[in-house]
Amino acid sequence: MRISRFDSRRISQRTAFTFLALAAVISITPVIFIIIYTITKGAGAITWDFITQFPSQAGKAGGILPAIIGTFYLMFGTLLFSLPVGVLAGIYLTEYARDNWLTRLINLAIVNLAGVPSIVFGLFGLSVFVLAFHFGLSLLAASLTLAAQALAMVITTSREAILAVPREYREGSLAIGVTRWQTVRNIVLPQAMPGIITGAVLAISRAAGETAPILVVGAAFLLPGLPHSPLDQFMALPYHLYTVAAHVPNMPETTMWGVALVLLIVVLSFDVLAAAIRIKTRQRKT
């Protein structure tokens, strides 16, 4: 009697584990499938010329150098504008802000910022940075637009990294007559920095893959040269991919997937970098 009851419990436990494991496997399948499929389809297009030449024949031939460079410019611009503001906001919200209606409003806004569709950010960028600020269709306007979108993530991850610094460190510092700002600068920030950097790297890798926002603020399909100033138009991998896939007739499939593969490599390598920073600092702490 007892043994059979024990058995039935064991069977239900096994069943539960099987389904849980299955769900886990299913959830990673699309990612693995996409990566393998992109590599199989696109690897043939990857040559030295492909990543070092300008495109020709509407992207059907030549390389994608300006799109790669443009994407890196965008990532840099996004980092430049979102990291300082995001970190300072994160510090303010964790270290200084009292829990009042204003703070709650700001927190609510940050949560909602993350949920705003990216094309809406594009329109925001168009009307504010391109038109109102007269930056025109430009790298600058696009970087600011992507930074506005990345801000929510940078603030959230900065805040979490700052909150994870033990309260004991802050108290130990304050208790010997060190000011709050000195404590933040010398104790809290150095400790939170790996977490902040990880969040920022993830945020810009996400920005690198965005198509919709840059569509309306300055991304161009084909340009004769690289952007010379932040006020120039630019090419970018996701927008290039969108155009060759949707608007160029008789596009060779391998070239198309080649662009996708390069974009994937850029984005994933930054994700791996973020993971590496996280793992490295975790090891150091223990």
């Binding site: 108290e171 130990g172 304050l174 208790a175 010997i176 010398n186 400790q191």
Partner: protein, 273 residues
């Protein structure tokens, strides 16, 4: 409460040097609607060790944290009454809290060295207070570590992480960190509760030697410790509404051998708490 403070016989310090360092007058502390302390009045003498004892939750730590205004960090904390350090009201709005905490340092329950080298841990305070000269800093670090009875153990590993030290060493490092900013008062919030008996005794010896020059106030739930190290002791309790009150305050020897209040006697003889 009218108290005559007589120091223990083994005390060799000239009695006239000991004056009232901290005067606490009719203090009430609230956290929001909750009253944590009620009508606390006591005078803490300089160059001696004052122990605050009592059952868990009676407000010992809350009282201690009033002296360097660490309670300011708690949202909703409100203080009524008066605390004076050398006659200067601590809760005056014109008081510079940072300057106050430089004079009234604090050591915490759990050793909390910063995640940096032993040297940098001790140099941290002086650096923030504007001392840049490397030689001067080295001098302060060595002297503070000597004072904290840690120098001999760490003199060859000043560059190592403070977190690599043993628990007792970490706590002495935290004491050295406080000493480096030359405070007048040192608050200790159950400084030995995370330490083993041997490390505890070392800290107690250290406290006795520091009492020559500093006013030390220690919160402890260990009554043997209070009896061993302190000159003066305060016994606190929680009232039915959970507000902490001061039951008895006086020379340690008297409080432990001849308590005037029945509740003190019950507590120290282990009848509750």
């Amino acid at each position: 409460m009218d108290i005559n403070i007589t120091l223990p016989e083994n005390n060799t310090r000239p009695a006239e040097k000991c004056v009232t360092k901290l005067m606490v007058e009719q203090i009430n502390l609230y956290y929001g609607d909750f009253q944590a302390l009620r009508d606390i009045t006591l005078d803490i003498p300089s160059c001696s060790i004052t122990a605050i004892i009592g059952p868990s939750g009676c407000g010992k730590s809350s009282l201690l944290r009033l002296f360097n205004r660490m309670n300011d960090l708690i949202h909703g904390a409100r203080v009524e009454g008066n605390i004076e350090l050398d006659g200067i009201p601590v809760y005056d709005s014109k008081i510079d809290v940072v300057e106050l905490r430089k004079r009234v340092g604090m050591v915490f329950q759990k050793p909390n060295p910063f995640p940096m080298s032993v040297f940098e841990n001790v140099a941290y305070g002086p650096r923030r207070h504007g001392i840049k000269n490397r030689g001067k800093l080295a001098e302060i670090v060595e002297q503070s570590l000597h004072q904290a009875a840690l120098w001999d153990e760490v003199k060859d590993k000043l560059g190592q992480s403070g977190l690599a030290l043993s628990g007792g060493q970490q706590q002495r490092l935290c004491i050295a960190r406080v000493l480096a900013v030359e405070p007048e008062v040192i608050l200790m919030d159950e400084p030995c509760s995370a330490l083993d008996p041997v490390a505890t005794l070392r800290i107690e010896d250290l406290m006795r030697s520091l009492a020559e020059d500093y006013t030390i106030i220690i919160v402890t739930h260990n009554m043997q410790q209070a009896a061993r190290v302190s000159d003066t002791a305060a016994f606190m309790m929680m009232e039915p509404d959970r507000a902490g009150v001061l039951v008895e305050y006086g020379p340690t020897a008297q409080l432990f051998t001849n308590p005037r209040d029945k509740r003190t006697e019950d507590y120290i003889t282990g009848r509750f708490g």
